[in-house]
Each structure stands twice: as C-alpha cells, then as structure tokens.
C-alpha cells in the first residue's frame, strides 16, 4: 500500500499530470472507437448485402419463368384420324408434325425432320387432345393453336442460348435457329404468361413442369401438421405454464422441449422413417407421414411461443376469476387462453412457416419421388414445394434453373405472407399490461 503511494507521489513529480497522459492517448483511442464502430456497421451492411444479393440473383434468374414461349400452328383436326367416340386415342403428334411440315415443306431426311419436330414440346399433343375432348366441333376444322415450344427453343427466345456459339457447343443446330428465326419473323413464336407453371404437376420436360402438384402436397402436409401440432402444442403449453407442479418431472419435460427445438431436422426424418414407415407401416411419400414428422418438429416451437404468450397474461386476471368462484380449468379456458390467443396464433403461424420451408425430413420419408399427378388426398404420394425446388435444382436442363428460381420466389412469397400475417396479428391484437 505504502509503496503504491510512494510511486504515485513520485510519478506526480516526475511525469506530466494525468490529464496530459489521457489526452495524448485520446486520438488513438478515438480512432479505435471509430474503427470498432465501423466494424459493427460493416457487419450489418454485409448481412443486408448478402440478403440483397440472394434476392437479386434469385429474382433475376427466375422472373423469366413466368413467361413461356409458344408456337402458333394451324392444326388440322383430321376427322379421318380422330374417332369422335374416343378422341383421346388419336395421333395428335402426327397432326402437329403435318402442320410443321406444311410450314417448312423443304425439310427432307429423317434427322432434319426430327430436329424440326423437336421445336414443339412433346407434351403439346395433350393440349390438342384436351381441345378435341372439350369441344368436339373442332374435329374436321383447321384451328390456329398456340402450342408450348420445347425448352431449348424457350431458352433461345429468352436469350439464354448464345446464337454465336459454334454449332457443336449449342443444344440447337443451325437449321433449328433458322426455323425459329423465320417463325419469329411471322409472329408465330411469342412469349405468353406461363399458366402451365402454376397448374401442372412435375414433369421431365421443363416446359411442362409446374408447381401445382407440389403446392397441393405442401398444403396437405401443412394441414396435417396444423391439425395435430396446434391443439397438442397449446395443450402442452397450458399444462406446463398453468397447471404443472414444480418438480423434477416437469423440469425434465421443459429441458426436453428446449432440446427438441434444437435437434437437427434430419433426425426427425430418421425418426419418421424408422417409426412411422417401418414400424407402423404407414404409406411412403404421403402428406400424412410428412405432416406427422413436421408435427413433431414444430411442436417445440409452438409450445415455447404459447408459453411465452400465456406467461404474459397478468396474474391479476387469474386471481380475479378465481375470486368469483371459477375453477382452475375455467380460469384458463375462459380467461387466460382467450387473452393469450393472439400470441399463441403468432407462434403457430411462425411454426407453420418453418414447416413449409423444411426439406430434409421429407427427403427421409420418401417425399422426393418423381410424381406427376396432383395428389388428391392425405395418402396419395406427393412432394412438397421445397422438395420440388431440391429436385429441380438437381436437374441438368437449363429450363429447370429458371423454374427452380421461380418456384423459390413462390415459396418465399408464401413465407412472407405467413410471417407478415404473424406480425400483423401481433401488432393488432397484442395487449400490453
């Protein structure tokens, strides 16, 4: 103690006063201050830039998918070919080929003809078949029809294929480019709104692939998830928050729920595979199993959010209700739960949004199958939107790149709507006591 005192007095004699010491270091310290602050700012700006880059690159890659290239061809619905009692059986591909050959009569040879026929999507005949079935009066007439072009033509029209590349490195040969140019000159190739993308199921052909099947699959999956996880989650939260005695057992449950919230989602997929598929023998690839797995995954989220909402209801409300003779259950059901409902619903919506974006557990239970049909129920094989994105992202065709981005845009739109609803609910109905 005395030695410190003596050095201090010494210092005050030999060294300049403390103020000067501080002042001399001030510049450096202020520089450090500014530097530290700018690091912080840089971190925030970088995160926001990542976000902007992500959105920009997805939108710039995907917006073209909302339009699709169509070729206008005069199709002769040959009455000799079409049996009016069974119009589906006719050879519509043949009619498209006739129309193409009529337009380009000089094309000779098998290979050249095959290249010509490849201008139109292989799925175009279904469109003609549907036309003949819906309106049998077209049979025997020649109708101008807009048929979906093949995905390579689509990419060319959208400028994704470089016309100047050497022919061998291009997916389209010189003849095909010439045909497209001549069709374009006569306005027989146009880009229209891509209705197929929103109404069709999956397909191997990008121009015929749509997200409707996946969207319906996601809808059914989320339906199962919501119906199961919302009541169970709220009930569990009510018990833990309002009824549970403070003992080891409830402590275990609590720790357990917090841990489950942080378990990797793929583990839930393994659980679904081992328990729901192998043990209970539920059908593979179905929204039912997907919904069950996602229920287990979202339960912790809903329970934690609901508990926070229930805990925010002031005890005075409970005491008042108990005071006028309500039982504990009546207090909860008639007063606490209705007051906490906005918070509970917000938690549920956020949980659902997370379930909507989840992919990995669905891969485990076989919802990655290639499914063309639109699922009609909970036990039909189905995929979900994020899984569809995963499947398309793996496809080599260029046409799928823009469709993947477009599907991502649709998925993000759903998520934004759900989260905005949650925020709106919270702002509008949340009460502060």
């Amino acid at each position: 103690m005395s030695s410190i005192h003596s050095t201090m007095t010494l210092a005050s004699v030999t060294r300049p006063p403390t103020v000067d010491l501080v002042k001399s270091g001030l510049k450096r310290r202020y520089r450090a201050e500014r530097r530290f602050r700018s690091y912080g700012m840089a971190a925030v700006i970088m995160s926001v830039l990542f976000l902007a880059f992500l959105f920009f690159s997805i939108v710039s890659k995907g917006y073209t998918a909302f339009q699709q290239t169509f070729i206008r061809l005069p199709i002769h619905f040959d009455p000799a070919e079409i049996d009016p009692t069974n119009p589906a059986a006719a050879n519509y591909d043949g009619m498209i080929r006739q129309a193409l050959l009529k337009r380009f009569p000089t094309v000779e040879g098998r290979n050249a003809r095959r290249d010509l026929f490849a201008l139109v999507s292989p799925g175009a005949s279904f469109q003609l078949s549907a036309m003949a079935r819906q309106d049998p009066s077209v049979i025997g007439r020649t109708v101008e029809v807009w048929l979906p072009a093949n995905d390579d033509i689509d990419m060319l029209v959208k400028g994704q294929i470089d016309r100047d590349l050497p022919e061998t490195e291009r997916r389209l040969n010189n003849d095909q480019l010439e045909w497209v140019r001549s069709l374009q000159a006569e306005n027989m190739i146009e880009k229209h709104f891509n209705r197929i993308f929103f109404t069709a199921g999956d397909s191997r052909e990008p121009e015929l692939a749509g997200i409707w099947g996946a969207a319906v699959g996601s809808f059914y999956t989320l339906l199962v998830t919501l119906v199961l996880s919302f009541p169970i989650g709220v009930a569990a939260a009510v018990y833990l928050q309002e009824f549970a005695p403070k003992n080891t057992w409830t402590d275990i449950i609590e720790v357990n729920i917090n841990n489950l919230a942080a378990v990797p989602s793929i583990i839930f997929g393994l659980l679904g595979l081992a328990v729901f598929l192998n043990f209970f023998g539920l059908p593979r690839s179905t929204p039912l199993v997907g919904g069950l797995v996602l229920t287990l995954m979202t339960l912790p989220t809903i329970i934690i959010a609901s508990r926070v909402a229930l805990g925010a209801v002031p005890p005075s409300i409970r005491e008042a209700a108990l005071g006028v003779g309500a039982s504990k259950t009546q207090v909860v059901l008639h007063h606490v739960l209705p007051l906490a409902l906005p918070g509970v619903l917000t938690g549920a919506i956020i949980g659902m949004a997370r379930a909507l974006g989840e992919t990995a557990p669905l891969l485990m239970i076989g919802m990655v199958a290639f499914i063309v049909d639109i699922p009609k129920g909970l036990t039909d094989p189905a995929t979900a939107l994020p899984v569809q994105i995963f499947l398309w992202a793996d496809s080599p065709e260029r046409g799928f790149v823009e469709r993947t981005s477009a599907a991502i845009m649709v998925l993000l739109a759903f998520l934004i709507v759900m989260n905005a609803t949650a925020i709106f609910l919270r702002r509008r109905f949340e009460r502060r006591w």
Binding site: N258, L260, P264, I267, L415
Partner: protein, 462 residues
C-alpha cells in the same frame, strides 16, 4: 362399415350424447326445483356423457386398427401352404405384399396364381369380419356408456370435477409427447445403429479412415467392398462447420454489438427484421444459392488466381451456411448483451472509458458465457444443417482440410444412403442410422451444455 364411417359415426354419437346428458341434467334439475341446485352446470353433465361415450370407444378403435393388419397377416400366413411358409423371410414378404396389393386393388408385382388369389380372398374375408366386429364392439360400447352415465346423472354427481380431471389428463398426455418424441428418436436410431454395429465394429466406424459405403451387389464385384470408417466424414463436417463459424461468428457478433449498443433506433427497426428474414429463408433456397451461384463464382475466381477449386468445394457450402447462421448468432448474442446490466456500462463510462472500450473490456467479458453458449448452439446448428451441404457439398469422402476441395458431411451421407429404395437390413442403410445416432448425440450434448450455460448466465444478472 369402413373405419372412416365408423369414426365419423362415433364422433356423431358422442355429439348426440352431449345433448342427451344435458337434457337429462335439466330434467333432473327441474325435479328438485331448479337446475342451479345440481352440483355442476348442465353443460358439464353433457360433456361428461359425451366423453364416456367417445373416449373408450375411440381408444378401442385406434388400438384395433393399429394391430389389425398384423393379426390378419399372420392369420393369412398360417393358412398358406407349407412350401410358401417355409420360404426365406424376404421372399415371403414379397408374397405378402402381392396379397395385400391384390386386396387393395393395386398393381401386383409378381404373377398372380391360385394360391395368392385364395389368400387374398381369405384376407378380404378376415378384414370384413374384423371391421364388422370392430363396429359392433365400439358402437355397443358407446351406446352402453351413454345409457349408464345418463342413468347416473343426479344432483350429487360431480360432473365438473370429473370433466376437469379428464381435461387435465389430456393436457398431461400432450405435454408428454415431447418426452415420447425424444425417446422414440433415441430408441429408433439406437436400435438400427446397434444392428449396424453388429456388422461393422464400432471402433472401425469411429476411427476408420476409409469411407465408401457402396456394397457389392454381386459377390465377385470389384471395388465395392464397403468401408465404413467415418473419420473422413467427420473431418468434412468439421471443416464446413468451421468455415461457417468463421463467417457467422464475427459478423453475427459484430452485428449484434452494433445493433444493441450503437445503432439508432430507426436503423435497428429496419436492420433487425432484415436479419430475421435471413433467418426465415428455407435452407433449400440457401442450398440452391450455394450450388448455382456461389460455387461457380468461387471456382471462377479460383481459376483466375490459378487455384484448382473443386466445383463442389467445401468453401462454397461453408460460406453460405455461415450466412445462414449469422442471424442465429446475432439474435442470441443480442439477447445476451442486452441482459448485461446498464450499471456495469455506466461504471465504465464514469471511469472515462470510450464506448468501444466499455464493450470490449466490460460488456463482452460479462456476456462471455452467454456468447459462448450461443456460439455452441450455432455450431450444433451448423453440424446438423442438411440441405445446403446436400446441394452444394460433394459425396466423395476426402480426408482433407483444404477448403477448396470436395468433402462430404454426416448429413449428406445420411441423405444419400437413405434416398432411394434400399433393403432395410443392409449395412449401407443401417450406417445412416449410426451416423444419425452420432449426430443426435453430438448436437444434443452441445445443446444441453449451451442451454445450461445460457440459463446460468441469465440467472446471474437477474
């Protein structure tokens, strides 16, 4: 009667039981001079009747359906001729599949012969009998319950207490689902993992340096012996997680410090939701972003610099995963930093410290346990993240710490081993469960430690 109609009928019955019970309560009440002399409100008598009508019947209903197909299948097998029953289990399984497909009117894989058709007919008959029996049992039970309960409705029957007891039991059951989930995760993964460790010794799995889970289809096939040394997989996981943490921890932490200590309220109101959007983007989107935008970018930049970068480099997956984890780190550390009492900061300011000195020398040390906890949670997230690595990282199990090369991770291996049709008893599929068990144990350990640390830390300042 199909189970679905029966289910609807049971629900309808118990709805009807509600009204029966309620009316009976009113009638009893009128006799003793007013409903308010009953123990409970008439509604409770109605609910009690409905519960007695519905719950036992539905319990029997669900148990019955759960075991029905197993029982019927074993009965059908018992009826099959001796030469079919003595087939090896997997062949027998195929025949059973054929039979059930025939029953459900699906496409049958194998040829349909006389025996299978007969068995299918037998199956159908048993199923019809079982459904009829189920309907009789449950419906009579439900009606019996209604009659019994409503005959016992009296002013002294404590209907409300009974109903509330049932309600509480339902609540308890719901809150135990979390425990059941954890248990079934542990049991199912452990069970399959043990089967795997019977085929492959655990020491080879944990310390072996060679991972190539392709098994020979034919006995004499070359180059696919199946090696299950998981060390390269662990190293890949660690490498990618490390890259992710190198991105996420500094940026996330600095963003949290800036937003909670420096930023103007208006900046915070804009920046925080933006960070939350980053957290809300599905991982499959990040995966697509990593595989189609970031990986080519890195490869081309590496090409310009004269580096050989694999097209599925660990760097791309790690970077994007880091971006994904930024909001996670920042929101957790934000909570932790906000929990540091203002008095500590004020004390530092009073001694003349600048704001950054206060943060670096007072706030951060005080918040350190909490920050470590949140970083541990982020690590567990990085290890368990699946879609980004499935789409952007490779399949080849290279033993390397070079971030420009392809590595594989635990989650990628689980997904690739289990996608597609596999025999469920080959070591290849079981290996996925062994990896899953390891993943679960590691992430669970990290979570428990992290949550404990964070909780202890928060208590310290409360």
């Amino acid at each position: 009667m199909s189970p679905f109609t029966l289910f609807i009928l049971l629900l309808g019955l118990s709805a009807a039981a509600y009204f029966v019970g309620r009316r009976k309560a009113f009638a009893v009440g009128r006799k003793i001079g007013g409903v308010n002399r009953m123990h409970s409100l008439p509604t409770y008598y109605g609910v009690l009747t409905a519960l007695w009508c519905g719950i036992p019947a539905l319990l029997i209903f669900s148990c019955w359906l759960m075991f029905e197909s197993n029982v019927i299948t074993s009965l059908v097998i018992a009826q099959l001729p001796e030469e079919i029953r003595s087939l090896p289990p997997n062949r027998l399984g195929l025949i059973i599949n054929d039979i059930t497909n025939l029953v459900h009117g699906n496409i049958v894989g194998g040829e349909v012969n006389r025996v299978i058709e007969q068995a299918a007919e037998h199956y159908r008959g048993l199923k019809a009998i079982s459904h009829a029996a189920l309907a009789t049992v449950t419906l009579s039970l439900a009606i019996l319950a209604v009659i019994l309960v409503q005959s016992r409705i009296s002013p002294r029957l404590r209907a409300r207490n009974r109903v509330e007891q049932v309600f509480q039991m339902v609540l308890i059951a719901c809150s135990c689902i979390a425990i059941v989930t954890t248990l079934s995760i542990v049991l199912s993964v452990l069970f399959e993992a043990i089967r795997f460790f019977r085929a492959v010794p655990i020491s080879e799995f944990l310390f072996g340096l060679n991972w190539s889970p392709q098994l020979a289809i034919r006995a004499d096939q070359v180059g696919s012996s199946g090696a299950f040394g998981a060390v390269p997989v662990f190293i890949g996981t660690l490498l990618i997680s490390l890259i992710a943490m190198l991105v996420a921890v500094p940026i996330g932490l600095m963003a949290a410090i800036y937003l909670s200590e420096y930023a103007h309220k208006r900046v915070r109101d804009v920046a925080k939701p933006l960070l939350e959007i980053l957290a809300g983007i599905p991982t499959v989107v990040y995966g697509f972003f990593a595989a189609l935008m970031v990986a080519p970018l890195i490869r081309d930049t590496g090409g310009l610099l004269g580096l050989a970068v694999a097209s599925e480099s660990a760097l791309a997956a790690g970077l994007v995963m880091g971006v994904m984890i930024i909001p996670f780190v920042s929101s957790l550390s934000d909570d932790v930093i906000n929990a540091v009492p203002q008095a500590l900061r004020d004390g530092a300011y009073a001694l003349g410290a600048t704001q950054s000195e206060t943060i670096k020398q007072v706030v951060l040390p005080a918040a350190l346990p909490g920050i470590v906890g949140s970083i541990l949670l982020a690590v567990s997230r990085a290890i368990g993240e699946t879609m980004i690595v499935v789409m952007a990282a490779g399949l080849a199990a290279n033993m390397t710490f070079n971030p420009l090369q392809t590595v594989t991770t635990v989650t990628v291996q689980i997904v690739t081993l289990l996608i597609g049709d596999q025999e469920f008893d080959s070591p290849k599929t079981l290996a996925a469960f062994a990896l899953g068990l390891l993943l679960f144990v590691v992430t669970l350990g990290l979570n428990i430690i992290a949550l404990y640390v964070v909780r202890k830390y928060k208590e310290q300042y409360e």
